[in-house]
């Protein structure tokens, strides 16, 4: 992050020069309003913070210990670009058991540094200039900027209280154009806590197939489902081969850092 020093009289120490290099795409992204509130909360005493999306639990010690002993054993070099094979295999088993989706750990999975990196590289890999990417609204703050940085056009698709914060197929249809290429889903949803049931996803599947959409499904909160079980987007008939499933360890296992 660039820090802004408005009262810096010393020109050699000004960051204005670096700021002049900022690309048009980056300039087009509005600053996130969320930061201001974290800063406010940080400055005050006796504040109860319900602001940050992070578990209050500490990472279970045996997990920390595994990280420590990996260093002690000298495992500090690069792994395969797609991540350690034992991890991908274990993950394939976990996903099969939990969500009934089948992925080949050798050719169909990649370990990234969190969902944000995964999302960014997929969006950049599939977006051509001017492609429209349907993004559910409200949603996590970095989806739309990722699309903009990749040269795509984010199209917000409302998921409001009226539909229990689910994506309705009627509302989705209203936003489809010949330029629509990708649909970003995130259920259970940040910030609403909304979930999609199997029948909701099936209605979306018909549209995705008819209009040849790729679905990026961020399911990082999948384990945190309270009524019944999570339904994975890729487990819906006809969606496996047009869905990229993204998930992570930070929320469910309390290991954001």
């Amino acid at each position: 992050m660039l820090s802004v020093k408005t009262d810096n009289a010393c020109h050699s120490r000004s960051n204005q020069k670096i700021r002049d290099f900022i690309s048009d795409r980056a300039k087009a992204i509005p600053p996130s309003g969320i930061r201001r509130f974290f800063d406010l909360a940080g400055q005050m005493e006796d504040v109860i913070s319900l602001g940050v999306g992070e578990p209050d639990y500490s990472t279970p010690w045996h997990i920390c210990d595994a990280a420590i002993s990996s260093i002690e054993q000298g495992h500090t070099a690069y792994t395969s670009n797609t991540g350690m094979e034992p991890l991908r295999k274990e993950l394939a088993d976990f996903i099969r058991n939990q969500y009934q989706i089948e992925y080949d750990p050798i050719s169909e999975m990649i370990i990234t540094t969190g969902v944000s990196e995964g999302l960014d590289i997929v969006i950049r890999a599939v977006t051509n200039p001017g492609d429209e990417v349907l993004v559910i609204d409200p949603s996590y703050v970095s989806y739309a900027p990722c699309v903009t940085m990749a040269g795509g056009v984010p199209i917000p698709v409302p998921c409001t209280e009226k539909t229990r914060f689910r994506l309705s197929s009627d509302v989705l249809m209203e936003h489809i154009t010949p330029k629509s290429k990708v649909l970003i889903l995130n259920f259970p949803n940040n910030p609403t806590g909304g979930v999609m049931r199997r029948e909701d996803l099936e209605a979306i599947a018909d549209i995705a197939i008819d209009h040849n959409l790729l679905i990026l499904s961020d399911e990082v909160y999948a384990e945190l489902t309270y009524e019944g079980r999570h339904t994975a987007t890729a487990s819906i008939d006809g969606l496996w081969d047009r869905t990229v499933t993204l998930s992570g360890f930070s929320k469910a296992f309390a290991m954001t850092g």
Binding site: G53, P138, N190
Partner: protein, 123 residues
């Protein structure tokens, strides 16, 4: 990116192998917190749809007469509770605030008490 940090990959592998029980315990606790917090929000006059997943409640603040931004700003300065105005998540978030309930039940109870007091102080 060449590869995710190696030590984190070892940690992730351990989480998958032996972390499921601790995870389920956390999920049970989040479920209890959700019920406690969402009931509280509805009781004090912030209508909130019951979230079925994640650890966020997204109540409407429209009935307070404040925008979500004003509500969040005044709530933190006047009552010491930090929430995020819904408009930062897109136009459909306007009129709501996001509250994470991944904090202790004691803190949630106190947060509800402070929010109640704040709402009562409004004209």
């Amino acid at each position: 990116m060449l590869s995710a940090p190696t030590m984190s990959q070892y940690a992730a592998l351990e989480a998958l192998k032996n972390g499921k029980e601790a995870m389920q315990e956390m999920v049970r606790e989040y479920h209890l917190r959700r019920n406690l917090f969402v009931d509280g929000l509805n009781r004090i006059g912030l209508p909130c749809h019951t979230p079925e997943g994640a650890f966020y409640a997204f109540p409407s603040v429209k009935e307070t007469g404040l925008t979500d931004f004003e509500f969040a700003e005044r709530l933190i300065t006047e009552a010491g509770v930090a929430v995020v105005p819904g408009n930062v998540f897109g136009n459909s978030g306007i009129g709501h605030v996001r509250c994470s309930y991944a904090v202790s039940r004691q803190e949630l109870t106190e947060a509800i008490r402070r929010m109640d007091e704040f709402i009562r102080s409004l004209p």
